[in-house]
């Protein structure tokens, strides 16, 4: 059984990595920073006390939100990079003169690349939704063979073979 499958069920899928530890460092830093700020600012003592009592909650909130935020930033930057790549491919295609023999091939390649990048972005967003909806502990093949879809678009999955 395990020989026929390409991956064993114990292996977790390598999703976009959650940057957990450095987010905790950042959370502790922002909590300490709030305490320092409340101590340094010339405000009345009640507000100062309230800010300092708020600091642990800010720290743990930043530590919780941080991995999702950094994953969002990563995916956003990579989306921007793919768009840049597509723009550059279109620029290179437009620089080929219309009478050149490879013009038609280049146009077909740009069209194919556009849909390919769209599918890559969908699959990347699928990774993102796998983190937020199902959590990182999703077993292998759960999206493929489960009775119901866990969430997110299913364009990235291999449910129906592409003809």
């Amino acid at each position: 059984m395990s020989q026929s499958r390409p991956r064993s069920p114990q292996v977790q899928p390598q999703q976009a990595p959650l940057r957990g530890n450095l987010s905790k460092v950042t959370g502790a830093g922002s909590g300490t920073g709030l305490v320092v700020l409340a101590e340094a600012l010339p405000i009345n003592p009640v507000t100062r006390l309230a800010l300092q009592l708020l600091a642990p909650w800010l720290a743990i909130g930043v530590a919780l939100v941080g991995p999702y935020f950094s994953t969002f930033v990563v995916l956003q930057v990579k989306y921007f990079g793919l768009m840049h790549l597509l723009k550059r491919a279109k620029y290179l295609e437009a620089s080929i003169p219309a009478s050149a023999p490879n013009k038609a091939v280049a146009q077909a390649k740009v069209a194919e690349m556009e849909t390919l990048i769209g599918d890559v972005i969908t699959a990347m967003a699928h990774t993102w939704s796998g983190i937020t909806v199902s959590g990182p502990g999703l077993p292998q093949g759960a999206l493929r063979s489960g009775p119901s879809e866990v969430g997110g678009p299913n364009q990235g999955g291999g449910i129906t073979p592409h003809s």
Binding site: P13, G81, L116, A123
Partner: protein, 85 residues
């Protein structure tokens, strides 16, 4: 507030600023090549390389089916990640 307290505040203020700025800079440093890539490497959920997609390939007339085959493999993958090559 005495001098010792101010020194303590400055010390912890600098430490907290470093703790906020350091991980942010590290995140941006890991992404420094991903914003303007010439070519990207597409990987599947296990980290195995599915293929490479480069902007310069539109100018080459050979291997025009490579893009179609790469598209086919991307469609079959559940998770996909992209890195600048």
């Amino acid at each position: 507030m005495g001098n010792n307290e101010i020194a303590l505040l400055v010390l912890f203020g600098l430490a907290s600023a470093a703790a906020i700025v350091g991980p942010s800079l590290r995140l941006l440093w890991t992404l420094r090549k991903d914003a303007f890539p010439r070519a990207v490497v597409i990987k599947d959920q296990n980290g195995a390389v599915i293929g490479t997609l480069s902007a310069e390939s539109v100018q080459q007339t050979d291997n025009e089916n490579d893009l179609v085959r790469l598209h086919e493999r991307v469609r079959r993958s559940e998770h996909v990640s992209v890195e600048a090559a």
